[in-house]
């Protein structure tokens, strides 16, 4: 059964140096507060996993917290590059970053296999692309039809962290709006944390709502506004202006470092 605790206590308990950590949320419900708490606690040498690294991993990679990034689309959606990621990949600043990249379909299937505790997932894809030579996939033959398919390895991160709108006092969670791969990430993770906008007495079923029972979650922590500058559907709006501004903030190493000091490291822990 999930334990309700503070964000700082949950992160301290769950995230260790060297861990593989997946913070999921497909544009929507990105767990920014949790990611920044990981940075404030000084974690290093992380293997960061996320389909769309987004600004949160630009920040985490930019301060040198990661040794490896596993991803499928590393851009600032609609704006352009993630400059800190590019600087790490192109110039090794502030530390060298190993990458393992997939397609979205590949990553989604890897999470689904991880959630099912299967070793791999089968799909069409990768064959005929240069990605096949640069990542971890294997061709396999369908035993029933003989079709050549690709096997992608399951993802089972040491820690999965997501953000949701609501939890009840038993630690059951409900999220709604764009569901991304959050349920798969929690079920695939060896340990898990869900941060929520609010804790309520009773979860009322929402149209399109995704329910995750507390008995598959380790910790639930209240983090109101914890998805900003991403958003929590029906509670907050995506701050598209911030995503545009990030392009300028992140382009320059010193400006980025100053911004992180002011807004993350000197900020009050949640």
């Amino acid at each position: 059964m999930a334990e309700l605790t503070s964000l700082s206590a949950a992160v301290a308990e769950l995230v260790h140096d060297g861990d593989s950590v997946a913070l999921e949320g497909f544009t929507h419900l990105i767990p920014f507060a949790a990611g920044q708490e990981v940075l404030r606690q000084g974690r290093r040498d992380l293997e960061l996993i996320r389909m769309t690294p987004d600004v949160i991993y630009d920040q985490m990679v930019g301060v040198g917290a990661a040794r490896k990034l596993v991803f499928s689309y590393a851009g600032n959606p609609g704006v352009g590059s993630l400059h800190r990621l590019r600087d790490a990949i192109e110039n090794g600043w502030p530390v060298a970053l190993e990458i393992e990249e997939h397609s979205h379909a590949g990553m989604a299937n890897r999470y689904a296999a991880g959630a099912a505790k299967l070793p791999c997932a089968l799909m069409r894809g990768y064959i005929g692309t240069d990605l096949e030579r640069h990542t971890r996939v294997e061709r396999v033959c369908c035993p029933f039809t003989g079709e050549e398919l690709v096997a992608v390895p399951a993802l089972n991160p040491d820690v999965a962290i997501i953000h949701a709108q609501e939890a009840d006092r038993e630690g059951n969670v409900q999220l709604w709006g764009i569901p991304g791969v959050q349920k798969e990430a929690v079920l695939a993770g060896r340990r898990s944390l869900v941060t929520v906008e609010r804790v309520v007495d009773q979860l009322l079923p929402r149209p399109g709502g995704v329910f995750i029972p507390g008995w598959v979650i380790d910790y639930v922590a209240a983090a109101p506004g914890g998805s900003y500058p991403s958003y929590s559907h029906s509670i907050s709006d995506r701050d598209n202006d911030f995503y545009r501004d990030w392009d300028r903030i992140s382009r320059d190493r010193d400006r980025f470092t100053d911004w992180m000091r002011t807004h993350v490291f000197d900020g009050a822990p949640a």
């Binding site: 397609s103 379909a105 791969v181 798969e184």
Partner: protein, 237 residues
């Protein structure tokens, strides 16, 4: 009466892309110009077009051009929303979305796409965002339309990285014209030219010795209705 100023090359490109959705059932779209074209199509050419965004939103009816493929308005106005594994396995991979709009940093004469790196993979000159959904979209959707600027930097003789390969690519729409696979060789050839563009300009802006169709089609000048709808959409921001 308002006088409508002549269209820019970029506006013509968007209008031509929107027209390509006439009579289609569903279109998969990413951010940027493809999204603008698909929204224009719903306003002018095909009001019933089902827009499918990578975030899992089906039948979204946004009033503004979304900045990201996961903007809240897409989920609020969608007929239904699915998780990412379902999106790629049940809908895209299974071929249920009719047309896809894709962009790319590089396109070669066989209509293969690069959105991964410029330069060497291990030591890239420019690291691009990467594959995203493109590879499985391009093989899953029966018709794939690529929307790119017409430049020798984009239309290249050799890709630095093959991110996406497909034999479903039906058109490459640029700001100068349209390239389509030649019936015999499958190589991209210039089949249509936009107003104000010249054959010489289009040939010189293509990074390989591009074949020109014997009967080169002329793009119909955007109508006042198309231009007014496009400009109104863009002005909403």
């Amino acid at each position: 009466m308002t006088v409508i100023s002549p269209p820019t090359a970029a506006e013509i490109q968007t209008v031509v892309a929107a027209r390509a959705l006439t009579g289609k059932h569903s279109c998969f779209i990413g951010v940027g110009p493809p999204s603008t074209a698909a929204l224009l199509a719903r306003r002018v050419h095909n009001p019933g077009l089902v827009l499918v965004y990578e975030s899992g939103t089906f039948g979204a009816k946004p009033q503004r051009i979304p900045l990201s493929i996961g903007d809240g308005e897409l989920a609020e106005t969608a007929d239904f929303v699915v998780a990412v594994p379902e999106m790629f396995n049940y809908w895209i991979g299974a071929g249920r979305i009719q047309v896809a709009f894709l962009g790319a940093a590089q396109v070669d004469r066989h209509a293969n796409l690069n959105s991964t790196v410029i330069g060497d993979y291990e030591a890239p000159r420019t690291r691009l965002p990467g594959a995203g959904g493109a590879p499985e979209i391009a093989t899953g959707c029966p018709e794939v339309v690529v929307i790119v600027p017409h430049s020798p930097r984009t239309l290249v003789p050799r890709l630095d990285f093959l991110t996406t390969g497909s034999n479903h690519i039906t058109k490459v729409i640029t700001d100068l014209g349209v390239l389509e696979p030649a019936p015999t060789t499958g190589e991209l050839m210039l089949t249509q030219l936009h107003p104000d563009a010249t054959v010489q300009e289009a040939v010189e802006a293509t990074g390989w010795k591009v074949e020109v169709a014997d009967e080169l089609a002329a793009t119909q000048v955007p109508t006042d209705e198309e231009l007014a709808a496009l400009r109104e959409l863009v002005a909403r921001g």
